[in-house]
Each structure stands twice: as structure tokens, then as C-alpha cells.
Symmetry: C2
Subunit: 460 residues, 2 copies
Amino acid sequence: MKAALSYIEQHREPFLQELFEWLRIPSISAEPTHATDMKRCAEWVQQALLKAGLDRAEVMPTNGNPIVYGEKIIDPQRPTVLIYGHYDVMPVDPREAWLSDPFEPEIRHGRIWARGANDDKGQSFMHLKAAEAMIRTGQLPCNLKFMIEGEEEIGSASLERWCQEQTERLAADLILVSDTSLLGWETPSITCGLRGLCYMEVEVTGPDKDLHSGLYGGAVANPANVLSHLIASLTDEQGRITIPGFYDGVRDLTPQERALFAQAPFDESAYRASIGIPTTSGETGYSTLERTGIRPSLDVNGLWSGYTGEGSKTVIPSKAFAKISMRLVPNQDFQYIATLFEHHFRALAPDSVTVQVRFLHGGMPYVCPTDLPGYRAAAEAMRQTFGRDPLPFYSGGSIPIISTFEKVLGLRSILMGFGLGEDAIHSPNESFALQNFYRGIETIVRFHSLYAQTMQSLQA
Amino acid sequence: MKAALSYIEQHREPFLQELFEWLRIPSISAEPTHATDMKRCAEWVQQALLKAGLDRAEVMPTNGNPIVYGEKIIDPQRPTVLIYGHYDVMPVDPREAWLSDPFEPEIRHGRIWARGANDDKGQSFMHLKAAEAMIRTGQLPCNLKFMIEGEEEIGSASLERWCQEQTERLAADLILVSDTSLLGWETPSITCGLRGLCYMEVEVTGPDKDLHSGLYGGAVANPANVLSHLIASLTDEQGRITIPGFYDGVRDLTPQERALFAQAPFDESAYRASIGIPTTSGETGYSTLERTGIRPSLDVNGLWSGYTGEGSKTVIPSKAFAKISMRLVPNQDFQYIATLFEHHFRALAPDSVTVQVRFLHGGMPYVCPTDLPGYRAAAEAMRQTFGRDPLPFYSGGSIPIISTFEKVLGLRSILMGFGLGEDAIHSPNESFALQNFYRGIETIVRFHSLYAQTMQSLQA
């Protein structure tokens, strides 16, 4: 491993120059004007995989942007790690807010500034360079496979089908992903939980047209009032969701897991200040990080009915609508939750209105057990690089493709990311700390070495 | 009185031809392109008042459309009736839905078809022709004053100030208005109650920007969920409004009044069918007509928050808004109710959000006691024309100017209208039954005679 680590040390500058080349390609998947850039970017990735020393790399077409696949098979008996990343980036609007050209990377204050510097070109590139360091120094301990897609920022629409078609090619022991952040400079962490999502839309209909609220007010159920009652009754005074059966599948963390998670540094007053709220609130008996990380939630995402313009219009609306989504935790199933929601919502509605409930979108929650060999290898690799044990972190967000990998490929993912909250991914002036870029490459090399050892000792 | 009634009988055709002239003027107050039509229309009214035999009539400027004032003073010792009407009409869109030109009146099926045929040119014109019949036959028993405004359909913005400036000129014993409807062909009625209005807007603010519902959901108060809770708690299971003190001023009808009101014909299943609702609902212990006529109500008129477009966006909105209005009954004061509402709404809000409450618009409720001499005269006049006693009717709507008259001029109004629900005022194909047009003129003549007798006997 030593030789690989010194290879990294010696190639700091060329690694950076090569990443800059990639960052200069404006591969914005959301904007159709960048269609040729997407293609050019995929081809660049293919060449970069070959340059890193892989045996083969190909640009594979999909109905959307191509997926780049590459592999280095050293020995079918050795463990195989499948690396996932993406070459597409977010739009850059508002462009005038950028201090430097988003597609002309610069180094300032020890950081790389560019769209994609972190998300996910910078983080994906660490894997290419870790592979190169191991291959060029003869220290690659396992087989490597890469899948780098071009639609992550627009929902990974082509990836599930492609995985279904390529299950054989993608056979591996584990998926390794760097597309998340650390809790802080001094607080290494591994994301081991992601919440799922169940997104519904409801429509409450009262009268068949808008009515004059003077002539009819008091005698006709107002769908906006009724909808408010229905939404209010979905949660109780304890901040718990009242849908019968909703919590049935919820996996509680063990006291040990909860204690470890509680070590995550969290500054409540800085949190409140950052979003301008006077006080946090939520389910009784849980901390803020637990409320977003390991407990399900229910939020109204949109609400509309009647007259919403200036001034006053005295109308009883015919209809009232809401978008309501629930974040789910292991082992809640979004399709089952959608059914429970619909059943409950219909049952609550008075017979003076009619109700429609539509399922819009869903994703399964994901959890990576901290006793998984891959998690243990990642934790040890981080400890060696950062000088302290990483904390398991349960994120409130969702990365739907991670649960798709589990479903389609039967593989767990290790979410070992090296970003920081301050990197402003998805915002103007995205950046990635140089130190984390290099620490990431080192940690990945250590991971492969440790993981291969663990797996071989398990086989033995 | 007989001579006046035969004058009407003999002038049926010229009355109609003169009304047609008026109906041909497209005096749509809501459309600025009709500014010169408004002026022309006011001048037409002035000439028509003189033609009816009044001593004087003038077009009086305001900041908006002019008000036409006219009077016939026969003896300062006699009672004085002030007649209110309006010469402006509603827009005609969609014009293609009209079976004939809205500004070229036609007679079909015993009805006058034109914009304004009923509201309010047709109904105002009855008063001009009743005056003419009484004046030309030497049978006018009281002094008459007319105020015909041109902004009723856009909120009567200039009228209150004008009344304040003209209190001396407008001195009278009573105001008589024909701008309402009868319960039915065979069911004469007098509108003796109008609800008031208190229209509020509320704004609930949670975080200072929209947040990702995955990362924050469960730990941050969602203003749309909170607003739903707040709205839900404004009414209880009995359909009563929970604002402390809200019902304190409410005047209950006497059992006699309630019994009389209960005679108003009402077909619940036709009512439901006409607005497409499966069942009526509202405050326990009251009928549908009572719920809209004599009880206050609370309705959400508009509701908006977060993402309201197609599909799903996982956002915790920063803000949620609602327009909430209350219909008031005697003796609720809209300004006091606005204060109670604001106080209660703020008190209900959890400290995890901030709340703003704005008063947008209000109007006082109105009630005309059925033992008022003017009411009794109107009731007897109707009985003589229609052959049966009129029912007192409590309408759920508001005519804010009526309570303004009471406040500014200290005068009660008698709402003796001759329209029918089927007249489709404010809609395409407005019409007014010829029979009601003539019955109205006769009833007005009878009213003046009866009212003058009553007032003189009271003086004696």
C-alpha cells in the first residue's frame, strides 16, 4: 500500500490538471443545449478510465445519456468492488453569482472552485486516481468495476433498466460511492442511512363550482377547510404520524447505534440560525438529528385552493389540493405506506366532500449495517487517514438509486464521501477542499486493501 | 291610488320602450373603455328623472362615476322616501353565450332580455315610473328623493363619501331599494337580513427559505402543516366557530321570526343538485337557510404554500398563506371580530413559527326589523299585489352599502326587490319577467301610499 500512497504524493499536480480538464466540460444534464457536451464528457471518462490502467472501458448508450463502464479484473477469486459515480452536473444559475467561471476551475484558499468540483466529478475522480495508483504500483488487491452515469442530477432515469440488463457484468461484492459529505473537517463520518420517500397528492372536492361565500357560507362543506382538518389529523400532539400501521415496520436503532449517532457534533443554535427558525420541533423523545435521520416524517410540500391573488374574493372553492410526502426509514415500504395513507385519508374525509388520492413518487429507505465487512473496512480506512474513528451518520435525504442497486443487483453500497457542507454543491461557487480530495484518494486506496484482506480472511 | 294604477296600465308599452333606451347604453363600470358610456348613462338618468316629473335632477361628480340625484318635494311635513339604485351593469363575458345582443333588449317568453334588465336598470326604472304615475295623476303622497349611482358592481367606492357630504340633502325617513329577488313566483318576500363580512389574510412563516424536506423533514415546523392545524382549530365538531367571544353579540331570531322564516320554500335536494354536493353540512341545530341567513360562518377563500406545479418537489415551504373570511350577523361588529380573530390566531400558533394576520375587508351586517313601519307598509303593498303575505328573508350575502347608509345617514333600508333566481343577473342572458316589472311598479305605488298613511297616523 505504501507504494500506492507515495504514487499519489508524487502525482498531486498532474491529478489536479487532469481533473481540471474534466471540470471544463459543461455537462449539465438538465439543459438540452448541452447534449453534445454530455457525449463528449462520457468519452472523456472512457479515456480517463483507460488512462488509469483499466483493462477496458466503454461508453454504453441508453435512452438518455450514456453510462460509462470500465473494469480491471485481476483474479476472479478476488473480491470485486463496483464503483458508482456520475459525470453530469447541476445547472449554474444564477451565473452572475459565481466569483469565477463555473467551467474554468481555479484554486483559491486551498479549494478547487468549479461546477462539479465536488459533485460528483471531483469525488468520482478520486476513485480513478486511487485505481491508477494501485494499478501502476502493482498493488491492486481486488477487481474493480466502474459505472459512471450521466443522469444523476435529473433522477437517474436510465440507470435502473441498464442495471437490469447488465446484472452479469455488474456482479460484485459491494458498491462503493463517494457522493456524500463528512460531518466536518475534524469529524469523519460514513453515511449509513438514507430515508425513503412516499409522495402523494390529494384533491378534495366540495361543490361542483366555486360558490359565493355569502350566499352559501355555513351550509356547504368548504374543501379548503376540510383539507386543513384532514392534514391536521395526520399528525398528533407528540409529532407522531397517526396513519394506522405507519410505524409497524420501523426499525429502531439499537441503544449502541443510537449512542454512537449521538456523538455526531451538532450545534443546535447554529442550525436554527442557518434556517432562521426560533425553535426546532418534532417527534417527542428524539433529538434533531434523530428526527431527520432515523425517524419518519410527514410534510406538506404544496397546498392550493381558491383565490390566491391580491385582495379579497368571497369564494367557497370547489376544490382544494395538497402535495404531502412522507420520509421513510428502514424497513418501511413506500408502496405499502402509500396504500395506508390513501386508506386513512379516505376514511377521515367527511361524506360532504369527495376525495382523490394519487401516488406521485416513491423510493425505498436504505441502511448500511455498521457490522458489514465493507463498512468496517471503510471505517478503518478513514481512521487511518483522519486519525480518528468515523461516525455512522443517518441522513434525512434520499438517494433512490442506492436502494435500486440493492433491489436489482442485490448489493449493499458504502457511502464514503469526502465533501463538506460548505462545498455548496448545487449552488453557485461550488468548491472542493484540496486536502479532502487527496485524503479521499488515500482513503480509497486503504479501503481496497483493508476490504480485500477482510474478505480473503472470511473466505479462508 | 287608483288613478296612478290605471296610469301604469295605460303606459305599459311606452314604459318598456323607455327602459329599452336605457338598456342600450353599455354602462359596464368594470371596463375602463366604457368611461364615456358611464357619463352618457348618468345624463340619461338625469333626463329620465325630469321626465318622470321630479322638480330637479342633477349629475353629481365624484372621484369615480357620477351619482345622479333628483327630488320631488311636495310638503316638508310629509314623510320623505329616499330611493337608491344603480345605473352601472356587470360585464357581459362570455359574449358568445348570449342568445341576443346584451345591449339590444328583446322580449321573448314574457321576459326582457338584456344586461341590466333586472340588475339594476330594470328594478331602478320601476321607481321612476311609479313616481311618474303618482306625480302625473296628482297622487304622490310623500316627498321623493333618488340617488342612482354608477359604481355598485365595483364596490360603490365613491358613495360613502358622497353621502357624508350630502347628509342634509339626503335627509329622509327611510331608504327604499329594489336590488334583490323574491323567493319565487308565488312566494313574495322581503329581504330583511344581510350578513356582514370580516375578511382576513394570514401568513405563517417557518424557516427563512424553502428547505429540502429530506434533510430537514421532522425537525422543523412546516408552515403549511401548522396553518392546516390552525385553520382546523377555528371550527369545532358542531360546526361552531371557536374564536372566544365570537358569538357574544349574535342576535338570535325570536321563535316567531324563526317560524316565519322557516316557511320560506326550500327544496334541499334541488339545492344539493344545483351545486353538485352529496350532502349539506354546517352548524348543528340549524337548517340550511338558517345556516346561510341568520348564523355566522367561517370559510377559507384561498390557500397557498410551497410547490403547486406538476409532479413532486420535496420542499418544506418557508411560508403558508390563507385568506379566511367570516360572514357576520346582527349585532356582530366586523372590526371587533377582526381583533378577536387576530388575537385568537396568534394565540393558537406554536412558537416554532411566526404569524402575521392582516385585515383585508369588512362590512357590517344589516337587519330590518319586521315591525318597522316601512317594513309593514312594504309587506302590505306586496300582499295587495301578489295576493299573499310576503315572507321575511334573511340572505347570506352582503350589500355593504346598506349598512353604510345606516351608519352615515342614520336610515334603515327596505329591500323590496322583484327579481327571481332564474333572472341570471351577473351571467349571460340576464332577463327580467315583464309581469314582475309591472307588478313592481304597482307595488311601489301602493308602498308610498301605505307608508305615507302609516307615518301620518303615527304623527297624529
